[in-house]
Amino acid sequence: MTMQNVGRPTRPEDVQPLAPAFASLTGGRGLLQDEALIFERDGWTKTGVDLPAADLDGSDLGDLARAAPIGLPGLSEPEAMRHYVRLSQKNHAIDLALYPLGSCTMKHNPRLNEKMARLAGFADLHPMAPLPTVQGALALMDRLSHWLKTLTGMPAVALSPKAGAHGELCGLLAIRAAHEARGDPRRRVLVPTSAHGTNPATAAFVGYSVTEIAQTDDGRVDLADLAAKLGPDVAAIMVTNPNTCGLFERDIIEIARLTHEAGAYFYCDGANFNAIVGRVRPGDLGVDAMHINLHKTFSTPHGGGGPGAGPVVLSEALAPFAPAPWVVHGANGLTLVEEAVEEAAQAFGRMSAFHGQMGMFVRAYAYMRSHGADGLRQVAEDAVLNANYVKARLSGVMTPAFPEGPCMHEALFDDSWLEGTGVTTLDFAKAMIDEGFHPMTMYFPLVVHGAMLIEPTETESKQELDRFCDALVALAQAAKAGDVDRFKGAPYLAPMRRLDETLAARKPRLTWKPESGVAPAPLAAE
């Protein structure tokens, strides 16, 4: 059996020495239960809720009424509880151990924030409820805006984008609207080779063509290349700062100056704001627009892939083009501008149905208030300190991509130290799983060969960092000592062994289907 997506065969026979001594009768492994899909439990007529009878029927709907069975199984409450708790135990989580995914900022998620978001005054609040009944929600949005503007040194913020990439879209739409308002539509967006994939994807989404800017040997934007590529058809430059190599763009002010001189706008990807929050204001660097991932810097939980929130701060030049809605102070308290008319006539449109991720605003605001100005500064300092500590501790056995000078909140290594070992970045990362750690970000940024990008964040203690570094040093030594099986077959001790991603893509099975290929047993007639 061939496995793995990047050409690494891992045959079961290769890894027998470390495989479990026997297979259990249930398919489980001790406390890790083998859990069937909800569709495989014959729950077609079950329900886990008790609802009253409806006192009027749907007979008035005629042929609009659904006749055929839907095909949805149900579970009683105890069965449902057990199903999801069993599944949960197969996940890694920041509450379990270090989650050093570079560029993702997996930090502690305070539970106070969860409690606050669930207050009925926030959670049980309808987005279109009359404005006099939502004054507290608008006040919270107003206070959050004040904090975001103050921390970034920017005059305006659009709260409605729902995630980082949605924020990028918002920023580029504002830039596009600003160029169009000047009668100077432009075609191109410049993006460094080290950028997140969302940057070029967003630029293309908005109809721009993308030109890559080269990187210098020390991991920064190549100013000469930037200057050569800037021109009258360039609408914007998208730069992440600190960049995806974990480095501060030393020439950032010059980058902004050159960009503005060419009549273009400076979009900053704020994914790495955690490294500088409370210490550096993007507004002082010449940024025109920057999204802030509330689910990174301001610690709203990632939830297994969202929801996030991606408010965008805007410069004076772009502020008039911000999308509806936004909060304003009116004669009778706070109100919402919901339409692109009158004073909002230049608004470029609307990013989504309502006002943004209110649940995330509450959490992020609670987090900011808890840390305060002094605490947020300490957040950046400790995040940077932790990353430099990891870099220092691992540099003896692994090869830092940019050994000279400090890094910011991420330590980046390449795979040259693995040369000749037969172990790849992927193998090494999978072996970390056996030690109880989530792998670092791998093969990103693309500009560094076999990249390993480690972001510990400020919420790791020195003790936990030492545990992590000790494990990585020992693993690195094992790789160099030729203990290849330990890596090739890894993980051995996780809930699952390596999964065949090639098979999944070649023969996509995206929904459950009964083995027989027929629809589930229809419901008994009601």
Binding site: M116, P132, A201, G356, Q357, Y389, M496
Partner: protein, 447 residues
């Protein structure tokens, strides 16, 4: 600073290992002009009690939907969420995990997504569904752009019954990508009119059912007309509970179905986070936006799940990706799927029936008032009523009677000339006494 584990001693030791004298040395790459040495003009750190006090105070300035008779819908619906749902989504392993890029230690999230995708495909009557979008409105915009990729045509026709915010979101995002968006005249029963606008340039027709006025429509004929012209039919639904009672989009010929899934498992949250549902026919899957979870096996041959077909996505394809979406609504999808698993088919159908019955009762009560006209004839759980005057003013007045009467249409679209139209929804949360209180107060104010 309760969230920061390092002690001053730790910091000093660590700086020593690094070989730096002070923390400022680590920020040496920041240009001097941009180093901020003083702290910001913001309050310093605060204890849990202090923060809680401020937020409880702000929350108390709002009137929660549950505080009395409440009839707002228009794309967000108040439903009961079983306690089990909120308990499970707060488990650390779900709440504090990342996108499942390492499948060996993310099978919990991945199996949930696989089950979720299967449930959404079943609800919509289509073959495949993705792992969620931000919300219904952005899912609608993404569906329109997907239709462009599939048909290589630029024109999208939006029905006049499409939620105005969905139309505006689609216009904003799809227009930027160079699409020609034709929004038809807003009207209560506008769906049939889209057929006349379909031509050989049309990439897709977007029809909402139940529409923003609550009107449920059989779109089969629209599907036929669209397909005859080589266009796709996109069916939008803002109330996912309606799937329990009404024919599915797939049964009526939809190629893509998008929906707001908030109604199942998720609170109102003043508009977000919500969850976009996105389903389509199998042959279109490679043009789909967003994450997809698929089945596979591990090195021991055991069934497992991974994110798949990622060659559509931004982290692989960059500027050639089908969408720029990365983070989606994972935890909201979890809430959705848990609630739907608790309901099962039996419970969902029953819940839908209760919603419909409550709304029939509401329509009868309001329709009996002289001067009030119920405009929506075939509805699920929402109706549009015409009042003898300005609906926004009436909502303001009824607030003094303790009734939140609904959403004046003018709030969603001030240019439609429908200032006298009020949108009212009833769900299983609505008490018969709430309906009586609403009808009596309205009759008093009109009379």
């Amino acid at each position: 600073m309760r969230y920061l584990p390092l002690t001053p001693d730790d910091r000093a030791q660590m700086l020593g290992v690094i070989g730096a004298a002070t923390i400022d040395d680590l920020f040496a790459d920041v240009p001097a002009a941009a180093r901020k040495s003083e702290t910001f003009d913001l309050p310093d750190h605060a204890g849990e009690l202090e923060v809680e006090r401020e937020l409880v105070g702000l929350a108390a300035l709002n009137r929660a939907a549950g505080a009395g008779p409440f009839f707002c819908g228009a794309g967000a619906y108040r439903h009961h969420v079983p306690a089990t749902v909120d308990h499970i989504i707060q488990r650390s392993e779900f709440l504090t995990s990342y996108t499942p890029y390492q499948p060996e230690i993310a099978q919990g999230t991945l199996q949930v997504l696989f089950e979720f995708q299967t449930q959404v495909a079943a609800l919509t009557g289509l073959d495949v569904a993705n792992a969620s979008m931000y919300d219904g409105s952005t899912a609608c915009a993404e569906a329109v752009m997907m239709a462009r990729r599939v048909t290589r045509r630029k024109k999208a026709i939006l029905s006049g019954g499409l939620h105005p915010h969905y139309a505006a979101t689609t216009q904003t995002i799809a227009h930027a990508e160079g699409m020609d968006i034709v929004r038809q005249t807003v009207a209560v029963d506008a769906e049939a009119a889209v057929v006349d606008a379909i031509d050989a340039e049309t990439a897709c027709v977007v029809v909402q059912t139940p529409n923003v006025f609550g009107v449920a429509t059989d779109v089969t004929a629209i599907a036929e007309a669209a397909h005859k012209a080589g266009a796709l039919l996109i069916v939008v639904t803002t109330e996912a509970v309606s799937y329990g009672l009404l024919k599915s989009p797939g049964e009526m010929g939809a190629d893509i179905a998008v929906a707001e899934g908030q109604s199942i498992g998720n609170a109102l949250n003043f508009g977000g986070p919500y969850i976009g549902l996105f389903a389509c026919r199998e042959k279109l899957v490679r043009q789909m936006p967003g994450r997809l979870c698929g089945e596979t096996v591990d090195a021991e041959g055991r069934r497992g799940f991974v994110l798949t077909l990622s060659t559509r996505e931004q982290h692989i394809r960059r500027e050639k990706a089908t969408s720029n979406i990365c983070t989606n609504s994972g935890l909201c999808a979890l809430a959705f799927t848990i609630h739907l698993t608790l309901l099962g088919e039996v419970g969902l159908r029953q819940l839908a029936a209760i919603n419909h019955a409550k709304t029939r009762r509401l329509a009868q009560a309001l329709g009996a008032i002289a001067g009030v006209e119920v405009l929506t004839k075939r509805f699920f759980n929402e109706i549009a009523v015409r009042l003898p005057g300005d609906a926004a003013a009436m909502v303001g007045g009824l607030l003094d009677d303790g009734v939140v009467a609904g959403v004046p249409f003018s709030r969603l679209d001030p240019h439609a000339g429908l200032d006298d139209v009020l949108l009212c929804a009833a769900t299983e949360m609505t008490l018969d006494e709430d309906i009586d209180a609403f009808a009596q107060a309205l009759a008093r104010r009109i009379g």
